[in-house]
């Protein structure tokens, strides 16, 4: 195994982890503060990705797509919260799962009607079209570095908002005792709607940003949903820090795991098992191991 390859996989892992963090942080806050399991969270990622495709086609640049797509996603998040999610506070998890699963079906049907079922690729901006050479044969695409940098900045902004601002204090207070924060004069309806909208906008933003690097196709929402739940469970429900650590673990596991497994590809695998199969299994094995060790996740509060 050569070092450049390892470096590339490390970069891939970090970049994927940061992207996952963007998605999973919203999921974990909505779950932790509002007690709502939002299965439709991945659908916002999907919407973001499709917005990237059609807005880039329309405006000619992913940057315009980002500028227009983010407020659109925020409005969609607010609309979904007002129309559907608001009825789920204080309901049991089964009802939440049923309703938000219904939302997934609606989102997917809408996607099929509006955008069709063909996969699409989204062009990278011209000035990020190049790759950074690492050796004579290997290089790393500039857009991926850009993507990682943007995600890192967003993670920093999120940390700052949650830890240092009044809104962040209220979000954290609301996650530990919503009745008390309301009795102190904070309208939790507004707080919850804001949090939901921010969370889903982050997921959509992840979809927008990742679209030029991954392609856009039906079913991407569910893919990220499942892996985001793994991140939330590993990190501990409601913990932003946990979401960060969990996302980085999964990101690195996903890319490095594949590399390491390939290094053993002279070892006979059982018939029908590919390296990719094994990599995805390791992610769940990691989750199971962490849950055995810490049933509430790495930074979760045991109830």
């Amino acid at each position: 195994m050569d070092l450049t390859l390892l470096l590339i996989q490390l970069l891939n892992g970090v970049q994927y982890g940061l992207l996952l963090f963007l998605i999973a942080s919203g999921l974990t806050i909505v779950f932790g503060i509002m007690g709502v399991i939002n299965l439709a969270h991945g659908s916002f990622y999907m919407v973001g990705a499709y917005l990237a495709w059609s807005l880039t086609a329309w405006t000619g640049s992913i940057f315009w797509a980002l500028l227009l797509g983010v407020p659109l996603a925020a409005m969609l998040g607010l609309l979904v919260e007002r129309l559907f999610i608001v009825h789920l506070y204080n309901r049991d998890h089964l009802q939440q799962v049923l309703l938000t699963f219904g939302l997934i079906l609606i989102f997917n049907e809408m996607q099929s009607i509006i955008w069709g079922d063909d996969p699409h690729s989204v062009p990278k901006p011209d000035f990020l079209q190049f790759s950074i050479p690492l050796t004579e044969v290997q290089s790393y695409p500039a857009y991926n570095l850009f993507l990682a940098a943007v995600c890192l900045v967003l993670a920093g902004v999120m940390y700052w908002v949650v830890q240092k601002t009044r809104l962040g204090m209220r979000i954290r207070a609301g996650s530990s005792n919503p009745e008390m924060i309301q009795a102190l004069g904070i309208n939790t309806k507004v707080l919850f709607a804001t949090v939901f909208s921010i969370g889903t906008t982050m997921a959509a933003l992840a979809g927008l940003l990742a679209a030029p690097e991954r392609s856009v196709y039906p079913g991407i929402g569910e893919q990220v949903l499942i892996i985001s739940f793994v991140v939330v469970v590993i990190g501990g429900i409601g913990s932003i820090k946990g979401a960060f650590v969990g996302a980085m673990m999964i990101g690195l596991m996903d890319s490095l795991g594949a590399t390491i497994l390939r290094a053993f590809d002279d070892v006979e695998l059982m018939s029908g098992l590919s390296v990719d199969n094994l990599t995805s299994v390791t992610v769940y094995a990691l989750m199971a191991a962490i849950l055995l060790w810490r049933p509430a996740g790495l930074y979760g509060r045991a109830h």
Partner: protein, 239 residues
């Protein structure tokens, strides 16, 4: 505004938890700057009265009013913004916020833009909190948590303070400190409705007393009248 302005009133208020009828026609008034105690044995409805005043429990019949304005069905955040602060039984501090954050999370000017209570003033009232300003809420002792809850309520610059069992489960010295602080708060002109088990202290500090028995008020008067009938006290308070 006149001195005798009513800041909180109950008129024949009935509340229920599901099928159980808790408050059965409670009526009383709290005047501006007045300190009133609410006594009663366990389970008589003291906490329910405070929660109803705050809007955390809806009155099914009767009328709750804040500053003369009907407040039935008003959500608790509006009660808080109208100038009513609540120090609940069991404290309800935010364990995942620091002491400073607990104090700042809801800090704001009160009615008519009053900003009597600042972080500095609250910390002067509770020097122990100043020492622990960057500690997490759940790293505090019970007494410190209680001080934090009171300080947090003061940071909203309230006109009315509802205190539920603020001295419960605390060491004697800490209790004394809480009583001292209550005296200081009262002196600043905040109206208080105080629930506690310590009748002696309540009689010392409060202007008027309410006694609840099974959701009905059986006494509303001054300390002398309350202490005059020892049989009555013994029957309803066990003292």
């Amino acid at each position: 505004m006149s001195e005798s302005e009513t800041v909180l009133s109950f008129d024949a208020v009935h509340t229920y938890y599901g099928q159980s009828h808790i408050l059965r026609g409670v009526s009383f008034r709290l005047a501006r700057g007045e300190c009133v105690s609410l006594m009663g044995r366990n389970g008589m409805g003291k906490s329910t009265t405070l929660r109803t005043a705050m809007g955390l429990v809806p009155p099914v019949r009767g009328q709750v009013a804040h500053f003369g304005v009907g407040a039935n069905g008003r959500p608790s955040y509006k009660s808080a913004n109208a100038g009513i602060a609540f120090v609940p039984e069991g404290r309800g501090i935010f364990p995942n916020l620091t002491v400073r954050e607990n104090l700042m999370v809801a800090a704001r000017p009160g009615r008519e833009g009053r900003t009597d209570w600042t972080l500095e003033r609250v910390l002067a009232l509770f020097p122990r909190l100043a020492e622990r300003i960057d500690n997490w809420g759940n790293n505090l002792s019970g007494g410190e948590q209680q001080m934090l809850t009171i300080g947090r309520a003061l940071m909203t610059n309230p006109s009315v303070l509802l205190l539920d069992e603020a001295t419960e489960g605390l060491a004697p010295l800490i209790r004394e400190e809480i009583w001292r602080v209550l005296g200081e708060i009262k002196a600043t002109g905040i109206a208080c409705l105080v629930v506690d088990k310590n009748v002696k202290r309540l009689v010392e500090i409060c202007d008027r007393h309410l006694l609840l028995v099974k959701g009905e008020l059986v006494f509303d008067g001054n300390g002398e009248d309350l202490m005059a009938d020892q049989d009555f006290l013994h029957r309803h308070l066990g003292v």
